[in-house]
């Protein structure tokens, strides 16, 4: 990654680790930690759209929270618009928040049922006069396909898709340069999901903000995002152009993920031969042994995998963390 690229990046994440303290097993037990994200590095350019893809427990939501300054990083750095998030004071961070906003997964939980739509939408606008705030709210609501007369209504008066539009309006009201969207369409029905995806595309074309889009659904990611970062158990396993990664996944985990995607029009699958899955939850402390986290599931695992691979460039913006590909 070149220096100039970094300078123009809206967001750059460098060797980021996020860990959580687990509840103590007993009062005097030593604290235990769960590594949610380990050594993640990527960046989002101005007006670009990058997807973080992974299954539950891959650390994608922890990463989003760390980027939003909601969780502290335990190592590494997050730079937003060139400024190190950790070096900002509380006031500076609050000031900078205008420039990066978030859209959450569950539109039923992300809007306070006791606040009017106007109050919800103008929440990110601090220090703005009431009349001006109202005008801004009306303006962004019209951008997401709602009207001025919706300002006085309450969230329960709207459907899931409309609520997600309201949440997007709230993120949009400060005219941010980056919107972090955490599974923004996974709670929505297909027809409404398409409405919201198209809206997000249109808004990007209009305002030129960058998206960091978190999803488990590769089809949605391919539709909206040019670049993709694949996460597995808190580690970046593959980075590249979404289309190329989908067409020719380099990492065995990405391959598994792409193959597992149900496809329309593929025809009915033949009943597969009986599989045996290993019982018990997967070994959560692969990080402790220093082996490749995917080793236990990998069909190609070899002796060399006992040492975790680091991300290496394959050229053309493609990187993969695997010894064997």
């Amino acid at each position: 990654m070149s220096i100039s690229h970094q300078a123009s990046a809206v967001l750059s994440v460098e060797d980021l680790s996020v860990r959580y303290r687990l509840p103590r097993r007993s009062l005097f037990a030593a604290p235990e930690w769960f590594a949610a994200v380990t050594g993640a590095t990527f960046s989002v350019g101005k007006g670009a759209s990058l997807a973080l893809v992974g299954e539950s427990g891959s650390g994608k939501s922890s990463l989003a929270k760390a980027v939003m300054g909601l969780e502290p990083a335990s190592a590494g750095a997050i730079r937003l618009f060139g400024q190190d998030l950790a070096s900002l004071s509380a006031n500076e961070l609050r000031e900078l928040r205008r420039r990066f906003q978030m859209v959450f997964q569950d539109p039923y939980s992300s809007l306070d049922p006791r606040h009017s739509i106007q109050r919800i939408v103008i929440e990110p606008l601090r220090d703005v006069a009431r009349t001006e705030a109202r005008e801004r709210a009306a303006e962004v609501l019209s951008h997401v396909g709602l009207g001025v007369n919706d300002l006085g209504k309450y969230p329960h008066q709207f459907s899931g898709g409309q609520r997600q539009r309201i949440a997007i309006a709230r993120a949009l009201v400060t005219k941010p340069d980056l919107i972090v969207a955490d599974e923004p369409v996974s709670a929505l029905d297909v027809s409404v999901q398409a409405q919201v995806l198209n809206l997000m595309q249109d808004l990007q074309a209009q305002y030129g903000m960058a998206y960091l889009f978190i999803s488990h659904d590769l089809a949605v990611v391919e539709y909206l995002c040019e670049d993709v970062v694949v996460l597995y158990r808190g580690r970046v396993v593959e980075i590249g152009k979404t289309r190329e990664v989908m067409k020719d996944p380099a990492h065995p985990y990405t391959q598994e993920l792409v193959n597992a995607m149900p496809r329309l029009g593929g025809g009915k699958r033949r009943p597969a031969a009986k599989q045996q899955v290993k019982a018990g939850s997967p070994d959560e402390n692969a990080n402790a042994t220093g082996a490749c986290p995917y080793m236990s599931r990998c069909p190609r695992a070899a002796e060399v995998c006992r040492v975790a691979p680091s991300l290496r460039a394959l050229g053309n913006g493609r990187s993969v963390a695997c010894h064997l590909s």
Partner: protein, 318 residues
């Protein structure tokens, strides 16, 4: 004769604005060894249809029509007779495996429970059968894992346990309500493969409720699309998905992000929102959202018509 025959099923629910019909005059059949998928968006009535077949709806709900299992109308059975059937000849798989399992009982206990209730098996026999079932749903070291508690298993394994419970009494019909929606993509693939294998091995009839057309495409023999409590289209899966007739089915397919979508191509959402049950149009339920709507659509409810062999749609414009 089909195993399950549902005829003119209507579910009515009292609200402050009068009676509404979450399921409105729905007829379909499921045969042994067949996977029928009921697909639609939230509020289309697919889950209510499933619960009606299981007779698990609330007391204040009115059910009309016939639900025949092997010729016997389930709606005529007493609650006690229905209890003897549930978990025995018909069983259900739920969306959320964690809430479907009792967290303080071992998985062995939970798989043995239907066996002890519905069969004359002894505890040792039931235990052996449970171990056998665990092996069948792909849990390794079943004899050891039988003493595990639900929280000691991953989400995918829990769903396997729920499937093992549903299989315990070797039912004729399994109703699966969004069985893979809460699971990761890779795990979803494994569970779908498991269901496919079980149906092909045992000639169970499977009613698969889902919102995911791609899942339908890979698993179902026949598909039934629902909207506003009514059937809009039914037919062989490949035919319905490749040559949809009803504008709603077309809309669902057009709105789906797909890997094969050419770059730059936009999704085509279905305009508007699903009407609430109390506001359901008197004519075609889709009338207010349909791009091909004409006046006649609003006047009368379209009947289901056979358009191609085994392929029906309820649209006057087809």
């Amino acid at each position: 004769m089909a195993l399950l025959e549902v005829e003119h099923l209507t579910v009515s629910l009292p609200t402050s604005d009068g009676w509404v019909h979450p399921v409105d005059d729905v007829s379909f059949t499921v045969s042994r060894g067949e996977i029928l998928s009921i697909v639609g968006e939230s509020g289309c009535g697919k889950s209510t249809t499933a619960l009606a077949v299981m007779r698990l709806l609330a007391e204040n709900v009115r059910i009309a029509g016939q639900i025949r299992l092997d010729g016997a109308d389930l709606l005529q059975l007493s609650e006690a007779e229905m209890c003897a059937l549930r978990g025995n000849r018909i069983s259900m798989i739920f969306q959320e495996p964690m809430t479907a399992l009792n967290p303080v009982k071992t998985i062995g206990f939970q798989i043995m429970e239907p066996l002890l209730v519905h069969t004359s098996m002894s505890r040792t026999e039931a235990r052996e059968k449970a171990i056998d079932l665990l092996a069948r749903v792909g849990i390794d070291q079943p004899a050891r894992r039988i003493n595990a508690y639900p929280h000691q298993l991953s989400g995918g394994q829990r769903q396997r346990i729920v499937i093992a419970m549903a299989l315990a009494c070797e039912p004729d019909l399994i109703v699966a309500d969004e069985p893979t929606t809460a699971l990761d993509t890779t795990v979803q693939r494994q569970i779908l493969d498991l269901l496919l294998r079980l149906v092909s091995e045992t000639s169970i009839a499977l009613m698969l409720i889902t919102h995911n057309l791609a899942v339908v495409s890979e698993v179902a023999d026949r598909v039934m699309v629902m909207y506003g409590g009514r059937i809009t289209e039914t037919g062989p899966t490949s035919d319905v998905l490749a040559h949809p007739i009803h504008p709603y089915t077309k809309g669902l397919i057009g709105a789906l992000p797909r890997a094969d979508l050419p770059p730059g191509e936009r999704l085509v959402p279905i305009a508007g929102v699903v009407p609430r049950l109390v506001d359901m149009p008197s004519g075609c339920a889709l009338a207010d959202r349909c791009p091909a709507v004409i006046d006649a659509c609003r006047r009368a409810r379209p009947a289901e018509r056979m358009i191609r062999p085994a392929h029906q749609a309820a649209c006057i414009r087809a």
